[in-house]
Amino acid sequence: MKLEINGEMRELDAEPEMPLLWALRDVLGMTGTKYGCGIAQCGACSVLVDGVVTRSCVTPVGSLEGSKVSTIEAMEQDAVGQKVVEAWVKHQVPQCGYCQSGQVMAAVSLLKENAAPSEEDVRASMQNLCRCGTYNAIHAALSDLAGQENA
């Protein structure tokens, strides 16, 4: 099957049931998207499907024909993604970093929908788990990004 990933049509030698997470990691060798739970609980596997944050561990590739998939690997080529990455570095958000691909994708999805989210919006949207407890740093980065938009 064919899948549009990061703006490129990719030939994918995988059955339709294979979750996008494993198609990305194993078939395409794109390991930036992470496996944490496999049941859409932690969010480490978050990607964008047509601009909306999606948990790739429970998304079969067969459901994605005709959709545009964006992963962490392409975020610096995305206008919003680049801003988020810069804010993550500026606010020194990551610790171990394992959940941060997913956190960045969730932030990009939020900001694409709402360039100046309120604290409430951030709380409602940023639901990915972080065992290192970077939650306050994530909020600081997003509030910085929202403030830039309001300024």
Binding site: D26, M30, T31, G36, G38, V85, Q95, N136
Partner: protein, 759 residues
């Protein structure tokens, strides 16, 4: 030793093409964002840790010079003026790589931002702790045990570069100074970059320890400053490499199904032929205590292994295994611990505890309970094993101590230790998870499957299999008695902790001495309670146990500091005033406690009504873990019967620090784990099985449950302590003490989510 074969970067095209693609040699632990290729750059200055590093060693008999091939820990200054540093300590979010770059860079006079840091492989020369006897990433020890060594390493390299410059410029070394990355001859206005000098410096002898001068701390350019961590961009763009991301040419992947209870062994597989016919399956295997499926893609292996119908055999209890009985349940086990009436073995005594209780005006009693905890690091454990044609074995695995694993694998495989190459990618969280645990690491599976298939195999434990074999933070039931004098001050303390310590659990037997980790945080407190008897009543657990961030302190300070508040209440004392009284004459801790209270805007226990109309209260607690001191204040309210923690103010005194921004990040992180433990976490067993096998049932702190965190760093100048773990233990009791004030009900059981509260 750096020329290990590894696929460079994400593979393109289909799997078949990938596995057929020629491998380009680069080092696995070299993260992709970093520049450079394999091995040591031509003309680079390479410095091993074999150099004299301390006065003690310099005065003693000369240590044999390490052989060149045995010096894989090094500082490399390249012709392009970048620095590569092999760190003895792993990076798992605690900032060790950056701290190492700061310390070495300070004395080398090189910006930490140009350092490329990787984890060093296994080897005697990397055992830089305690006079060169060991090396682990744990116990919050990385910076404090290597601070002097790393400074001397940087200073030695700088001296060699200056000598090389003196020779090249034909001037005296004493006429030269350095600025970051270059040597300057001010008189002639000439300068040379370190990169230009690196090749010449190769001919310079390493200066003797006595001839190395270290900077005056007042001249520090980077140490003590909030230097940016060096791995932020890679970790924000998916380029950081963890063990689970490892790939090598011709690699297969494996998923396992563990025996439902430890001690059981696989018998017949009833549907083996059907599973072998499932999509993508390479082969089906029986392992020690598990079954496995190997496939080119992990998802295929996982689907197939979950489908295996195994006739699990129960050989019954034996000394060789930590057997999990079919009827084990945490509720019943808690009752069992609670029902113990023994006095235990004494871990700490002072004064005359019996007499203090006999003459007490009032006796206070309380029984406390803690829970088993998972590490729940977000990266599930994995190991990639590859046997090489020369008989060596390469392993890519998350670990907190390469030599420990090397020795264990040597014993298991019969290979010589030097034939076992341990690669240590970034850790996707650790918290104590990645030590050697007999039944808790995937490397035996990876080695067995690589041997069986004749190909490299990467084993990933699914989250469900991880929660079945993750060794846990021990639980305990602790019985406290406090004696108060006629004025209400505590004069006696009697504690029996009914538990098995983590060290005892890991060894699967009691040692000759008490397990210090079992009671740390109840013992060695600084409060002046003159008569004490603190004891452990050992009860073996059937579960596997582990170190967990801040180890014994993670629960013991909850017990002790909560009970201290109970004594304060019983004696009619304010808990802050009581602590100050019990710390009279202890300037360091008095200063620290006051700093936490000042940070919170002054002591306000409550209950009080906040601006938003909610009823709130504050609790206070202290802890002395891992060489540092901590004091915390927490503010709570109750919402829908559950505890909400609004703010945590924590003052921490690690003596002196390297990076205040990292300290602040670590306090945030430790607060999150402390809150997680006290509010929501707990691993429970029913019928010999864990109730929770994934994050749907096992709760860890969610974003909306995080408190605002306010940090005050106090540098008392005392001996340097740790930072990763010390901010944690004061958090659960500070929260529990606040909840007790707010609700009028003492909190004695973690997690608080087991109860419903009213403000």
């Amino acid at each position: 030793m750096m020329a290990r074969i590894f696929l460079d970067g994400p593979a393109n095209g289909s799997g078949d093409e990938r596995f057929a693609a020629p491998a380009k040699p680069v080092n696995l632990s070299r993260r992709r964002f970093l520049l450079g290729s394999a091995g040591v750059a031509t003309g680079a200055l390479v410095l091993g840790f074999g150099i004299p590093v301390g006065p003690a060693r310099a005065q003693g008999p000369a240590a044999p010079a390490p052989k060149a091939l045995d010096v894989p820990a090094f500082l490399e200054i390249r012709p392009d003026n970048t620095v590569r540093f092999l760190s003895p300590f792993m990076e798992g979010g605690q900032g060790a790589f950056t701290a190492m770059a700061q310390i070495v860079g300070e004395e080398l006079d090189m910006d930490p931002a140009v350092f490329e840091v990787e984890a060093a492989p296994a080897g005697k020369v990397f055992q830089v702790m305690f006079g060169g006897t060991m090396r682990i990433t744990g116990g919050s020890m990385s910076v404090r045990t290597s601070y002097d060594t790393m400074r001397r390493l940087g200073a030695s390299a700088r001296a060699m570069l200056v000598s090389a410059a003196a020779q090249r410029l034909g001037v005296g070394a004493d006429t030269l100074t350095t600025e970051p990355g270059k040597v300057i001859h001010a008189a002639s206005g000439r300068s040379l970059s370190y990169g230009e000098l690196a090749e010449g410096a190769l001919d310079m002898g390493v200066p003797e320890a006595g001839r190395i001068s270290l900077k005056d701390p007042k001249d520090f350019r980077w140490i003590g400053k909030p230097v940016a961590r060096i791995d932020m961009h890679a970790k924000s763009t998916g380029q950081a490499m963890y063990a689970i991301d490892s790939q090598v040419e011709n690699m297969l992947q494996a998923a396992v199904q563990h025996a439902p209870r430890l001690g059981l062994q696989p018998g017949a597989i009833r549907n083996e032929a059907a599973v072998k016919a499932m999509p993508g399956v390479h082969s089906v295997h029986t392992l020690d205590g598990a079954v496995a499926v190997v496939a080119p893609y992990w998802w295929h292996a996982r689907q197939a292994v979950d489908a295996l119908d195994v006739d699990w055999q129960d050989p019954g209890e034996s000394e060789d295994v930590r057997y999990m009985p079919a009827d084990f349940a945490t509720d019943a086990f808690t009752q069992h611990l609670s029902s113990q009436t023994g006095r235990g073995e004494e871990a700490e005594t002072a004064g005359d505890s019996a007499a203090a209780f006999a003459s007490a005006a009032k006796v206070v009693e309380g029984e406390f309970t803690s829970q088993y905890l998972h590490h729940a690091q977000l990266e599930p454990p994995s190991t990639l094993a590859r046997f090489n044609d020369d008989g060596s074995l390469d392993l890519w695995m998350p670990n907190q101590g390469p030599e420990i694993f090397q020795a264990a694998i040597a014993a298991k495989t019969g290979l010589a230790p030097e034939k076992i190459n341990i690669h240590s990618p970034l850790l996707g969280g650790f918290f104590g998870r990645h030590f050697q645990y007999t039944w808790g690491n995937p490397y035996p599976h990876a080695i067995a499957l690589a041997k069986a298939t004749g190909r490299p195999v990467k084993v990933i434990w699914s989250r469900e299999e991880e929660f079945l074999r993750d060794p846990m933070r021990p639980m305990a039931v602790v019985k406290f008695k406090g004696a108060l004098d006629a004025d209400g001050w505590p004069v006696g303390l009697d504690v029996v902790s009914v538990c098995e310590g983590p060290g005892e659990g890991i060894a699967n037997k009691r040692g000759e001495k008490l397990d210090e980790s079992a009671l740390e945080g109840i013992t060695a407190k600084s409060y002046a309670i003159p008569n004490r008897r603190i004891a452990q009543l050992f009860v073996k657990n059937p579960t596997t146990l582990a170190y967990w961030r801040s180890v014994g302190n993670s629960m013991n300070d909850f017990f002790y500091e909560s009970f201290l508040d109970e004594m304060a209440d019983a004696g009619g004392k304010d808990p802050y005033a009581l602590r100050l009284k019990l710390l009279e004459g202890n300037e360091r801790l008095t200063t620290l406690l006051n700093a936490a209270v000042e940070l919170s805007g002054g002591w306000k226990r409550g209950p009080f009504t906040a601006a938003d109309g909610t009823r709130r209260a504050r609790g206070i607690a202290m802890a002395s873990p891992f060489g540092s001191e901590a004091a915390a204040v927490a503010e709570v309210s109750i919402q829908d019967g559950q505890v909400v923690v609004h703010d945590v103010w924590e003052a921490i005194d690690p003596g002196s620090i390297v990076n205040p921004a990292i300290v602040e990040a670590q306090v945030n992180s430790a607060v999150a784990l402390g809150l997680s433990q006290v509010l929501v976490e707990g691993a429970e067993y029913e019928a010999g099985m864990p109730v929770a096998r994934n994050f749907d049932v096992y709760q860890i702190l969610r974003p909306e449950q995080m408190a605002k965190v306010h940090v005050k760093i106090v540098e008392s100048g005392a001996e340097m302590g740790g930072i990763g773990e010390p901010p944690l233990p004061a958090i659960p009791p500070a929260v529990a003490n606040a909840v007790s004030v707010l609700t009028g009900k003492r909190v004695r059981v973690m997690p608080l989510s087991k109860e419903s509260f009213e403000a």
